[in-house]
């Protein structure tokens, strides 16, 4: 007979702990220079503040280690190094997120260490716990009951689960977990015997667990209640060797879930979020979505300690600390973390199997399930595998009650483990322990797979979501590229130094087109559509990008972008449009280069953060880019597509149909504008447009609208409005009757004008000219869209002739439409004719007011101004 000796060489233990100290030290060191890395400081600046948590933690674990070595020479050698590493990882992560909370956590850790050392000094602590099992349990339940009367919530709102004693907050449900396990282990150790009927043996525990559960449910702490039921079910199964008790777990979960769902709003919201977080990504689902994005941001190796943005997940220090670890240490860190937890639970199961007394065995088993299940509950909740329960991540999450309880639990485990050196209490069967271990391993694998899914397979998709705020952080530390006009004048620049970079718009009236990039509100306009170039993702050397992201977790400096906008034409358009609401689009009729995009009223991106509320509430919609996003009714400008539909059936002979010469106020005013002329089509008389429409059939009208691109969104490297829907064959007639109400944007009408000036070919609109490569050359921007033949050449000639200006080599058409608010929208579109010698141009003007004279003035001045220059 040999005397078994399992891991009984205490002299080996400091070596394990040395590795733990090293790992926490490297983590601390990396954190302490992270601010310096982010800000690209020329010299390494070490944040000495991190020395405090590290040294505090070191003192705590060395003191505990010493006490443990003296008191428990035959303990399990792995428990202490594992909890030391978990606690160290946790304290430093909390410190990194919030030094003030980190300090509190450190203080709690030291308090816990002192309690562990004191607890180690109590002789026969384990039998003592067993003897007075009811006292402990009643104490725990009383504390919980107390929260009903004097409970508070440190956050000010939410479930009142805390007691406020001498200025500190204590959450009694944490010690209750430990006390409950002690009670159950003690009770089962005494009562589960062959000659006691099973029901009698478990009835008191059933009642007390039920009572504790009800108290917790009453306090809306369903996470802890569910944890109790699971621990209870597993302990019953192990102690009675009856597998049927396992059914208790899903059954209780289902009942609790259903009751909770219908009784408590908190639970309903959490379950709903869990089922569909994307339903309300900025509201209730925000936290969970941010958690998934944080895991994705970590990727394989993490952003590096201190280099990520784990604060984007609300309450990252407590409930969501796992996501902070995941973001900054990646899948590699998650795997290591899960291995630590797995080792801890496996060692505990081993201690249970090798225990000398039934009480020790059941206690170790209960503690093992407590640590494992709580970890799975919270990480599973973070990853969206289960509904979120507000339990803590053992040894890691911020929370004094939890940390101290966990440390005491570890102390008990170590005390029970010393029993194993002698010959253990025989086991009926090891199989249940193996099943439990296999179950824990399986859940761990599921968590790893879910993490890998977010961090690897769905990484791209998650990081590109609008809810991901990390771009705003990158913008502060790495400069965005400039946006310049065609002649190189800056429109938007980056000012400041690393860590405080910000965007400055040098020509604010263009803000609606240039857009903004503000962390709180997101990105719009060019800032959004050319994000990848401006931010340094596209166009830069791949190796450069890779190294930059690895070293700094930032993209490199972004590339400058040149637009086709001409600052002088833009300024002129803005000046002419003045205080009128509306839009002007001026483009090169041949190449599609956009020279001016005026949208009034506009906002100023530089002061948007102050003006946001006013801008959002303003009825004038100053944030809307009217040039591309407005959906104005086409009104009497429908005459041109109608004419082209009328002519499409004819061959080469283009003469207009009989047109009614009945005038209306708006068209009469337009006739009085630039030149005195009574052409009812040219000035958009309603009766004139109706006469043309009366002579076409619905199918050719739809074709004509389609050919002019009025049913499709222009491809213009910017977010544009939704185009009118192309009617189905059945809907032709209703479209025909409401053709004049078809919604179009000024850009769409400018492209119609361009097609007429450009021999029937609609050019591809080009807002972006080029971007500056890292080596300094301008590289032409590749526009995906192509030009389209909208109408035959001769037809465009006929249209130009019909709408020709009497004084310039121009054609134009004035028009108007009825706005929803009963106001009049004034339209103007025009372009150069074939005898024009300058740059071929096309324009569309929309004014949300009856002001044809101004529209004609803007059109003529902008079209001829270019030629005269």
């Amino acid at each position: 007979m040999t005397t078994p000796k399992l891991d009984t060489k205490p002299k080996e233990q400091p070596r394990y702990l040395a590795l733990v100290i090293l790992f926490v030290f490297f983590y601390t060191a990396a954190l302490s220079i992270s601010a310096s890395i982010r800000a690209h400081t020329p010299n390494t600046v070490v944040d000495a503040g991190y020395a405090l948590p590290f040294i505090g933690w070191l003192i705590g674990i060395l003191a505990c280690e010493k006490a443990v070595r003296v008191r428990l020479p035959n303990r399990d050698p792995w428990i202490f190094p594992i909890i030391a590493s978990l606690a160290g990882w946790g304290i430093l992560t909390i410190w990194r997120l919030s030094p003030s909370l980190g300090l509190k956590q450190l203080a709690w850790f030291l308090v816990g260490s002192v309690l562990v050392i004191l607890g180690l000094g109590v002789r026969d602590l384990v039998p003592l716990l067993k003897r007075y099992k009811y006292i402990w349990l009643v104490l725990g339940l009383l504390l919980i009951a107390l929260t009903f009367f004097v409970g508070v919530n440190p956050a000010g709102a939410g479930p009142k689960l805390w007691l406020h004693i001498f200025g500190i907050y204590v959450q009694p449900s944490e010690p209750l977990k430990l006390l409950m396990i002690i009670y159950l282990a003690a009770f089962f150790a005494d009562q589960i015997r062959p000659n006691i009927p099973l029901l009698n043996a478990i009835l008191p525990t059933l009642l007390l667990t039920g009572l504790a559960g009800l108290l917790l449910v009453g306090q809306r702490d369903l996470g802890t209640a569910a944890l109790f039921v699971c621990i209870y079910g597993l302990m019953l199964t192990i102690t009675t060797h009856r597998r049927r008790f396992l059914w208790l777990i899903p059954l209780a979960a289902l009942v609790a879930g259903l009751v909770g769902y219908f009784v408590y709003d908190v639970i309903r919201v959490r379950v709903d979020i869990w089922l569909n977080p994307w339903l309300n990504p900025s509201g209730a689902g925000y936290q969970l979505i941010q958690a998934k994005i944080a895991v994705a941001a970590g990727g394989l190796t993490g952003t590096g300690p201190g280099l990520g943005s784990p604060q984007s997940v609300p309450v990252a220090v407590s409930d969501f600390i796992f996501t902070a670890i995941a973001e900054e240490t990646g899948l590699l860190g998650i795997a290591a973390f899960m291995l630590l937890i797995l080792l801890l639970t496996m060692r505990s199961l081993n201690i249970a199997q090798s225990a000398k007394t039934s009480f020790g065995r059941y206690l170790a088993f209960g503690l093992s399930t407590y640590i494992a299940l709580q970890t799975f509950f919270i990480i599973g909740g973070n990853l969206g595998l289960f509904p979120l329960t507000g339990v803590t991540l053992p040894f890691v999450s911020y929370g004094g009650s939890s940390l101290v309880t966990n440390l005491l639990a570890a102390m008990l485990l170590m005390r029970v483990s010393t029993e194993k050196a002698t010959n253990p209490l025989p086991l009926k069967s090891r199989q249940p322990y193996h099943w439990v271990a296999a179950g824990f391993l399986a859940i761990l694998m599921v968590i790893m797979l879910a993490s890998a899914n977010f961090a690897f397979f769905q990484q791209e998709k998650l990081l590109n979501r609008a809810e991901n705020p990390r771009w705003a952080v990158y913008d502060r530390y790495s400069p965005r590229g400039e946006i310049v006009s065609q002649s190189g004048e800056p429109l938007v620049t980056t000012i400041g130094s690393p860590g405080s970079y910000s965007r400055q718009t040098t020509y604010p009236p263009l803000s609606n087109t240039l857009g903004y990039a503000i962390g709180l509100y997101g990105q719009t306009g060019i800032e959004q559509s050319l994000y990848s170039v401006l931010r340094g993702y596209a166009g830069v050397d791949y190796n450069d990008l890779w190294w930059h992201e690895l070293l700094y977790n930032q993209p490199p400096a972004g590339l400058d972008v040149k637009l086709n906008l001409s600052q002088s034409l833009q300024a002129k358009a803005d000046q002419l449009l003045g205080d009128e609401k509306g839009a002007v689009v001026l483009l090169n009729a041949h190449t599609g280069e956009i020279y001016a995009l005026a949208s009034h009223p506009n906002f100023d991106a530089n002061t948007l953060e102050d003006d946001w509320e006013t801008m959002m509430q303003s009825e004038d919609a100053p944030l809307l880019n009217r040039t591309v996003q407005a959906e104005y009714p086409i009104g009497t400008l429908a005459a041109i597509p109608a004419l082209s539909a009328f002519w499409s059936g004819q061959q080469d002979i283009y003469s207009p149909p009989e047109v009614s010469s009945k005038l209306d106020t708006a068209c009469y005013q337009a006739m009085l504008g630039e030149e005195y002329n009574l052409n009812p089509l040219k000035f958009g008389c309603e009766a004139g447009t109706t006469s043309v429409l009366d002579n076409v059939d619905a199918a050719s009208l739809v074709d004509s609208f389609y050919n002019f691109g009025l049913f499709s969104a222009p491809q213009v490297v910017m977010e544009v409005g939704t185009p009118a829907e192309m009617p189905t064959t059945e809907a032709y007639m209703s479209f025909f009757n409401t053709a004049e109400q078809t919604g179009v944007s000024p850009l769409q009408m400018a492209l119609v004008a361009a097609a007429i000036s450009n021999d029937g070919i609609t050019p591809a609109p080009k807002l972006v000219n080029s971007y500056k490569s890292p080596t300094g050359e301008w590289i032409a921007y590749d526009h995906a869209s192509t030009e389209q033949q909208a109408i035959p050449v001769q037809m465009s000639q006929a249209l130009r002739d019909l709408f020709r200006s009497s004084s310039y080599a121009l054609w134009y058409q004035s028009g108007h439409a009825q706005l929803e608010n009963d106001g009049i929208l004034t339209w103007y579109m025009g372009g150069t004719t074939s005898d024009w010698h300058g740059t071929p141009l096309a324009i569309a003007v929309a004014i949300e007011n009856n002001n044809p004279a101004l529209a004609q003035q803007i059109g003529t001045q902008l079209l001829t101004g270019v030629g005269n220059r």
């Binding site: 990396a30 010299n43 630590l340 199997q353 010959n423 025989p426």
Partner: protein, 144 residues
């Protein structure tokens, strides 16, 4: 430069962390694969307790590792005698032996007229008295 130091520290962090884990997994695996040390492989020798209540001799055999002896009906081995305490003694098997432990009973337990103060080892054929009752112990060693 700072970034390079940071990267080095990150790599060292992972090396230290994974060395610890690898070390742990290796040592634990080694101890687990040492099969003969498994506690479950030790069988409990069945113990038979007998006492005479004046009318008949009551014999009971047990295969569990822990037994309670006393007057209470919850006990595994019930001794209906006024001199026996409600929970008189505990018998448990560990270190490959059956141990007898007096649970601070009123009238005490005796083995060969010696009062049992500390847990003692029981042998096959021992007669232990609890109060006025004498229990005869029979142990069949299955491991032998």
């Amino acid at each position: 430069m700072t970034a390079a130091i940071g990267l080095t520290l990150r790599i060292l962090f992972f090396i230290a962390l994974y060395s610890f884990l690898a070390f742990a997994v290796w040592v634990i695996w080694k101890s687990v694969s040492a099969k003969d040390l498994k506690p479950g492989n030790i069988l409990i020798p069945s113990i038979t307790l007998a006492w005479d209540n004046g009318e008949e001799t009551i014999l009971q055999s047990f295969s569990s590792a822990e037994l309670l002896v006393g007057r209470e009906p919850e006990c595994d081995f019930v001794l209906a005698n006024a001199t026996v305490s409600s929970r008189h003694a505990r018998l448990s098997f560990h270190q490959n032996q059956w141990w007898f432990e007096d649970l601070k009973s009123t009238n005490g337990s005796y083995l060969d007229d010696l009062r049992i103060e500390e847990p003692i080892v029981l042998k096959d054929g021992d007669d232990v008295s609890c109060g006025d009752v004498i229990i005869h112990v029979t142990i069949k060693n299955n491991n032998a």
